[in-house]
């Protein structure tokens, strides 16, 4: 459980760094709106990744299973 939380934080930090650095033209002068905009995008990214993982979790599980079926760890050869 803690590991999951940690990766959420590290993910958040990494993404924050990616978006903070390439800063461009539009001026957001003393406007709380832009901060809200950015955080929404970040949260959407995190939620999007979690949803994507959930959707493809079965596919990922099946892939791993089939991989181990092909190469069973204790096969007598």
């Amino acid at each position: 459980m803690t590991i999951l939380k940690m990766s959420f934080f590290t993910k958040l930090l990494m993404v924050f760094a990616i978006y903070v650095l390439p800063v461009r033209n539009v001026d957001a002068y003393l406007d709380p709106g832009s901060g809200s905009y950015i955080i929404q995008v970040l949260i959407a990214l995190c939620i999007g990744s979690i949803i994507t993982i959930k959707i493809y979790w079965k596919k990922i599980k099946d892939f791993i299973k089939s991989y181990f079926k092909k190469n069973p760890p204790n096969s007598a050869k």
Binding site: F8, Y19, A28, A44, I47
Partner: protein, 439 residues
């Protein structure tokens, strides 16, 4: 115009309005009692080309504000806003605003009253109302639930919702461990501060519809998890602790019913209503009734009872009579004071006068004067000094209330009212009066 409300739809909004009406979203929301219905006006009211249409929304009997709502009322208003946003997305639209002032209680259910708050949804764009939702709904609810229920009064000071950095500071430290509150409040606040005076590229970032729904669901889960239990305040268990005998209570109810039958008021305001015991005598007769009380726990209990009884004619609200909501906003005109939302046909001021006159040192004249501006008929209960409740108040005060007598009371009120009837309650020294405002 003519005492009715009209809204002007400008030409720039034409596309959005048409989509709202023709996509089926309007029909769906009105059917589910989530949006206020309206009627379209005749176009010949204007020759200007900037105006597309005039609409005439349904009349709302009483306007209430978020700082007057109890915890569950604000919570339901929040969940209703999110529900509407989700439905809107199904029809290709999104809410531009998520202001708590866009919700009103009609038949005691939260309803969106800003018909023009919808715009066409463009995939990729974030929810523009996100910040407003967090400030108007999530932050106050989190503060009420986790810190103190009275913090909803901050909404009186901050009319665009509680600033997130302030909310973040006031919330307990363990709220940082809750993922939803961490993201939508704490980190949101930090992000606002960080980007406040920095250049930011708005156009680059995109949010898919799936992620947007994810955010809405995340907000919904966060709100649903916030709870508050109405107990522990001084008024929460009032009715278990009164000094009425059964006979006195029944007599009081009978008199109130009688007055309601004679006068047949269309609206009743019950001041100091507590959990609405007597308010229900009016609302059960189909009279639009509002229960006002200063205690958030009492109002919450009242509202919860309204919910399980499925009541439509009773609206409980939080008001401090000694400091009622004043006019707020730009030029003090955006939100109106209590007195401007009246007068009511009839007011109940039951078991109240001693709190105003003794606890709050208000002279009878001032009380009578204010009440006369609030109603056409007044039902007021005089609680004499010998009453055990008044004695309780005098325990911690010097008795400077020589003028607190029935005679002085009647004389003061007769300056503003004509006393139509008075009855002494059985088994009690308390007297119930029916008075009519002198014009």
């Amino acid at each position: 115009m003519n005492g009715s409300l009209y809204r002007q739809i400008n030409a720039v909004y034409k596309e959005n309005y048409d989509h709202l009406m023709t996509s089926g979203l309007y029909g769906r929301l009105v059917e589910e009692n989530l949006l206020i219905p309206h009627v379209e006006g005749d176009k010949d009211l204007s020759e200007q080309t900037e105006i597309y249409k005039i609409i005439h929304p349904e009349f709302i009997l009483f306007i209430s504000y978020p700082y007057e709502w109890c915890f569950s009322q604000l919570k339901n208003a929040a969940l209703t806003t999110l529900k509407i946003q989700k439905i809107a997305l199904d029809y290709g639209m999104t809410l531009k605003d998520a202001s708590a002032y866009n919700i009103q209680f009609i038949d005691n259910k939260p309803v969106l009253i800003d018909t023009l708050s919808f715009e066409k949804y463009q995939e990729g764009k974030p929810w523009i109302a996100y910040r407003q939702f967090c400030q108007h709904f999530l932050a106050p609810l989190a503060l009420m639930s986790l810190t103190d229920v009275r913090l909803s009064q901050l909404l009186r000071v901050y009319i665009d919702g509680i600033p997130l950095d302030l909310a973040s500071k006031l919330m307990p430290k363990n709220s940082w461990l809750k993922v939803s509150l961490l993201s939508h409040i704490h980190l949101h606040a930090k992000s606002q501060k960080h980007f406040a005076d920095r250049p930011v590229n708005i156009k680059k970032q995109k949010i898919s519809k799936l992620s947007l729904l994810g955010i809405i669901n995340s907000l919904e889960k966060a709100i649903k998890k916030l709870n508050w239990s109405p107990k522990g305040t001084e008024w929460a268990d009032y009715y278990e602790d009164t000094n009425y005998s059964r006979d006195a209570l029944e007599h009081k109810k009978a008199l109130l019913n009688e007055y309601l039958e004679i006068i047949k008021p269309k609206t009743v305001w019950d001041l100091g209503a507590n959990t609405g015991l007597f308010s229900r005598l009016a609302s059960s007769k189909g009279i639009q009734t509002i229960s006002f009380d200063v205690d958030p726990a009492a109002v919450e209990k009242n509202y919860i009872e309204c919910a399980w009884r499925k009541e439509t004619h009773l609206l409980p609200l939080i008001i401090d009579l000694t400091n009622p909501s004043s006019s707020l906003g730009w030029a003090n005109e955006e939100r109106i004071s209590l007195i401007e939302r009246g007068p009511a046909d009839m007011i109940f001021a039951l078991a109240l006068i001693h709190h105003l006159a003794i606890s709050n040192n208000l002279p009878f004249n001032n009380i009578a004067s204010y009440f006369s501006k609030l109603c056409k008929y007044l039902v007021i209960e005089f609680v004499p000094k010998e009453d055990s409740k008044v004695q309780k108040l005098l325990l911690t005060r010097e008795d400077i209330f020589q003028n607190y007598t029935k005679q002085v009371f009647e004389k003061a009120f007769e300056r503003f009212f004509s006393i139509e009837s008075n009855d002494r309650l059985k088994d009690s020294e308390r007297v119930l009066y029916l008075m009519r405002t002198l014009l």
